[in-house]
Amino acid sequence: MNSGLKGLLRGELTSWVGAAASIAVVLFVLMVLAGAPFGEALSGFVDGAFGGRRFSYLLTTLSRTALIVGMAISVMLSFRAGLFNIGGEGQLVAGGLVAALVAIMLPGPPLVVLFLSIFAAMAAGALWALLSGVLQLYLGVPLLVGSLLLNYPIRYIGSYLVAHPFRDVQSGMVQSHLVPQATWLPYFPGTRLDIGILFIAVASVFAIIYSHTTVHGYHARLNGLSPDFARAVGLPVNKLALQTLAMSGAIAGLVGAIAVFGIHHRYIDGMLVQPLYAWTGIIAVLLVGMIPWLVPLSGFFFAAIQTGAAGMERTADVPKEIALVMQAVIILFVASRVSGALLASSGRKASGGGDA
């Protein structure tokens, strides 16, 4: 066990070093080509991700981390159970949309409204995820396809609702009215960081405990490791799948609600889609091989890259597109890792005929 853990750590460490090295090399080459001053860009990057006056940029990074980690936790629960739910974006949008609308329309004491809205958002995310599960189990639409396709209708439903019936016409933008100010998540004292990150911290702790210590998490993981095995030993695989999807979707919905109450205070068309929170979350999970406790670190890493890139653009005039290239390098790195793992497992299967 001990040596296994060490090996794992060493493996993770090498892969992180490898990631950092490949990113550095590509960045260096790009900057040389763009003629940007390397040292200045680097300090701009570090400052943009972790610095700023009274660490304001670090707080921005943390705020972004919260959303990315939330989405990462959401997909991690599905992926570990062998469910390729890539509909996190739709579930996130469903949550954000419902949270804003409920808060706008529901009268009552602010705290009650806030909690009911968050609850409604989680329910909406769960339902949207369940829909893709139902499509798979009862209509035979593969989850990978169904969950992806379900991203689009909810996004356009959202666009319609805030463009027409619930539009804040005065603002001139495609967005809803503000949610009541009393429901806004408070900032940490003396900062511009809202307490939404605490919700995500709780969700992360829940996910880690769930994955490692509960019967449900154990069964879900067996299904993820080998669906045929799970079926043969009589695990209730359909129920497991639906419950896990609901859990995933609820967390995505929670992230949507946090974006509304903590950051934007309304639903703005595209606010949850354009920053690619859901997709970044998927990449963050794959990068660490779905190991629960590493997911928050991985999410922070990606958030830092994005805010750092913005800082680089401000100080060194390096185009933000460089950051996109960086992300692409990381995605490539992840893809090679994942395919490497797949190759290794199929190799195991091939040699498994004779049982080494």
Partner: protein, 506 residues
Amino acid sequence: MHVALSGITVRFGALTAVDDVSLAITPGEIHAIVGENGAGKSTLMNALFGLVEPAAGAISIDGTVRRWTSPRGAIAAGLGMVHQHFMLQEEMTVLENIVLCSEPVGRFGFVDFAAAHRRLKESADSHGIVIGLDRVVGDLSVGERQVVEILKVLYCEAEVLILDEPTSVLTPQEKDRLFAILKSFRAAGKAIVLITHKLDEVMEIADRVSVMRGGRLIASGRRAETSKEEIARGIIGGELPAARQRRPRAPGEVVLSVDKLVAAGRGMAVGPITLSMRAGEIVGIAGVSGNGQAELVQALTGLRPSISGAITLCGVRIEALDVERRRQAGMSYIPEDRQRVGLALGATVAENANAGRDDRAAFSRGPFLNRAAMTRFARSLIERYRIRVGGASARASTMSGGNKQKLVVGRELARATPLVIAENPTWGVDIGAIDFIHGELMRMRDEGHAVLLVSTELDEILALSDRILVMYAGRLAGEVARDEASRERIGEMMTSRAVDALPEVA
């Protein structure tokens, strides 16, 4: 063509799969290489054929040292290999498959199929091989596909023919046909290497026998100068397990009754099948792989929906229940594929051992796992079934095939259900594990459980079963009582209708 291997050593990481083996292959001889799974016999031949690169040693042909790093070189040198898993294009015809990669190019660069057809027909006829060259491979039986593989090797004018476990997929009759072809090759002066673990076949056909164990060559000599017992001792490195004593036992109550069960199969429905099983008997289902056994087992366990018919287990109708409820009704299942279905290889031994346990309260506290209890249970299985593994928290993938299978068998038998379904329970495991698993199945029978043994190994069926059912083309082709069972009789049932269905081949 004389082939000599000298000092061949193959390593896979820390494991030495073949350890300093020297061997001579002589023309006009059938040379059997025997040993347990993992003894290194396939690896040795893969090294000869250029599929793995030896870490040390040399291959010489007719006295000249040769080297190649891919099968291409080996084929050019006159070697041919028929693998355990066939490598054929299902959509293409026999002829197209055979000429693949060495097509006879006619004028203008077109493939001259007519010439190839003539040439093949000639060499096939000279060895008494009958096969329709224009049939599509997808329509052929397993035995016929093997003939196609052999023709492929023949077409490349191989002088040395290596066959890896060629009879494992054949009926006794198909095996006889194969051996007739091999004898004809021998008469034509070709050298034949037969990798096998079946000693009866060795005694029947081989001229020379080499025994491998743990990567080393234990013995090599003329078959006439040795005996089956001596070879067997060489294979396992000790004395043979004592023959099993069979306690006479009157069957008890009906445990399982299947009435006109029909299940969806690949291309055709399997069934209707009617059978019943009583407590304290082992019912063997014999048959060539792919005749509906897998579908029947899946329909019984609930992994495949049944189309019609009734299944009653211990008085409960179960055909509409899901897997979990069927297991609770009194069924355990040892699947054929331990790598995918029997175990979750990425999970630990403890996690595998506790999956599918009926008494969930024994390893959980509320919604949480009781890891200590899970480990205790896994340790008890490890001890009772003598599983060799690093510990309860080792990954299942770290175990050898035999130990993996023991874990599956242990997990399922520990549930002590009235019905045990065992599907090729000893496939690919070593003799020690086979003996142990057979012993456990017999113990279950003696304790009054009903055991449904589905196996493509006729020896296994004959050794354990109280009654034998034979499956052919999705149906039960017949039933034989233990006392009346013989290889020939069962072999006929395994193919009786094959003759009707495919007259042009027989």
